[in-house]
Amino acid sequence: MISFIKKCATTALSAAFIFACTPQGPNNDSGGVMSVTNAASKVYVAPGNHDEFYAFMSGGFSGQISVYGLPSGRLFRVIPVFSQDPEKGYGYNEETKPMLQTSYGFVPWDDAHHPELSQTDGVPDGRWIFINGNNTPRIARVDLSTFETAEIIEIPNSGGNHSSPFITANSEYVVAGTRFSVPIPNEDIALDQYKEKYKGSLSFISVDQESGDMDVAFQVLVPGYDYDLAHAGKGQSHGWVFFTTYNTEQSNTLKEIGASQNDKDFIAAVNWKKAEEYLAQGKAKEMPASYYNNEYSDETHSATATQKKSVKVLIPEECPGLVYFLPTPKSPHGVDVDPTGEYIVGNGKLSADMSVHSFSKMVQAIENKDFETTIDGIPVLKYESVLDGIVKQAGLGPLHTEFDGKGNAYTSFFISSEVVKWKVDSKEVVDRVPTYYSIGHLMIPGGDSQKPFGKYLVALNKITKDRYLPTGPELAHSAQLYDISGDKMELLLDFPTIGEPHYAQAIPAELITPRSVKTFKLSENQHPYAAKKESEARVERDGNEVHVYMTSIRSHFAPDNIEGLEVGDKVYFHLTNLEQDWDVPHGLSVMGANNAELLVMPGQTETLLWEPQKPGVYPFYCTDFCSALHQEMQGYARVSPQGSTVALDWKTGNRK
């Protein structure tokens, strides 16, 4: 079997591999499609019925989260997070522009990697989902009652927020480990001083349990390695967070060679309960910093961007017991903690073996001071003292592991394109299935929590050659759904995804559906430019700023005739949707507007800034088909030359 895998691996992306590993029919027992009709019936969700699970997939370089139903694989929502989204006006309307504010200015894109559901008692609870912006270090919180981004916090002292935003068992913290070490604070330092001057940071972002409000509670300054992924302890290991590292060589050029020298890199174990003690003792240093915390309010329907100026930093040398290194072969990518909290799986992506550490052995080794050495005040525990066992030669390129709550672990193998199922206690491989192709993360609903919901496994693949109808040089990435309820994993379905889906999380629909917001109450709308009834619709001029207080209801705008606008005006259309019925948004678009449209939910107010460039008459209309008279939902804005004598005027219907 191993030689077969190796053979596959060496030709991983070649047609030979693809054909060799593509299931030939229903009787293929290497984990291919079982009986076609059986698989089809298992993913069939009858019209009008709901899926059992909501799956939240990162959009990768699309910067968004896409929401799919499981088992159907149907896409039913794209949630804009870090990227502007013309569909919903997000990042284009005046209300949401502050969400994308950073210390680098307005950054309308990011590389979103790891969605992470909020948890209570170690189990996803359906309140929020967090996701990291990898490129311009940020963490976003999406409110699952509205499926809208509620908050984005920038991470200071970070270069690439990759090991993020993994969550603690009661959502006390989400974490943000830096992928690239950088000068801290960032300044102009020669690249050949990387080893001496560059540092890593591990940030702990606190989450207010009522409001969800995030704050950078503290950072731990760590050696200048690359911090890759993380997972929080649970059960007995609650109070700890584990981060993988690579590049303990501290190479800063040609890293594919330079960062692959050492036999072992580390898992950094951070004791955040200890950190809280040190904070209480005043051991943290206030370090000057500049980062933004942007929050969206469902009362004002607007976001505010607040600049923060300092951050609390803990130095391991001054805080004994705060951080330990667990040696782990070799460039470990994922670090995954099993549902009991005892086993910490280091997926050494350049190693054929996977090291499984034991939390209780780690505690013992710390007590015994079983240290190999100490780096920057961080004790390196002896590998043999913390190791529970090795999953030997299970495949090539282990990346991520999730759990089914029945004592089984499932690991993705990127190079050999497969999922391998093994027993957590005995480290024995019990099943394997191919993926199509080059799997990165895998996901089991609740699979990184204390109580996995089990049943399905989703493989998130990087390559889909030959799998789909070709679409030119670039093909869709794919998710593959496997039934894991039996002894053997069974492929049920594959479906294309948006961007590069890195990770995903899923939760039973019943945890989200009852909390769903259907409309915003007009009476609670505190937007400063709201027009809460048609009689409040009006147009006001303030110098060259014109504010249109506009309302919409099926099937008209008020006002729908506006005159007296001039070239050079900044025209703000503040549209309040007067509907109080579920699923009746109205849109607003203006001919030639240089941004996007608005899509306004019932009871909400949104603002489109329009700067007309030349005289003329500009139609505007509703973009969201709303009723039989949707086409009639339209109006005109007349623009006159600058300094014209046309009086500002507006109306809805002909005056008597």
């Binding site: 809460k532 009834k533 009689s535 209801i553 099926r554 007067l578 019925d581 039989a628």
Partner: protein
Amino acid sequence: MKTLNNIPKVLKFTRNLVLTLIFSSLLFGCGSDAGNENASTESGTTEQTQENMEALTEDLTDPMNNKGVGPVDHVDLGPIDEAMVAEGKAIFEENCTACHKIEERYIGPALKELTVRRSPEWIMNMIMNPNEMVQQDPVAKALLAEYLSPMANQNISREDTRKILEYFRSVDEVK
């Protein structure tokens, strides 16, 4: 026919219009006409059935006997409560005036004399349950066919709906 006695002449026209609309969407096998008291069914029914049929026809074709479809099956009307009227007016203005005016047809029908055209239950059900009403209630169906723009469900509570009704009553009383 006693309800008609209170209706001004102009409203009789409205009522007839409504009856016509209703009949365009009702599927009665008896083929009877509201204006023809002596119409009989083809199969020659007993007098008892004939009476029932007339009662039923009368019942459904007089909108004041139609309570509509929805949560409200009975409303107790007392003397007009001015406090409720004031609140009802405010709620009406916030939620309804984008489409309704009292004196004139706008997006939806003019609401003057509404309380003598429709039963209080029907009015409340139409406010609270417009989606089902336009699917099931013959009068509401006819109105949708005429106005085309669906009545928006503004998710108004039963309590607030009752206050709007009180406001409508006060409008009609003044006239």
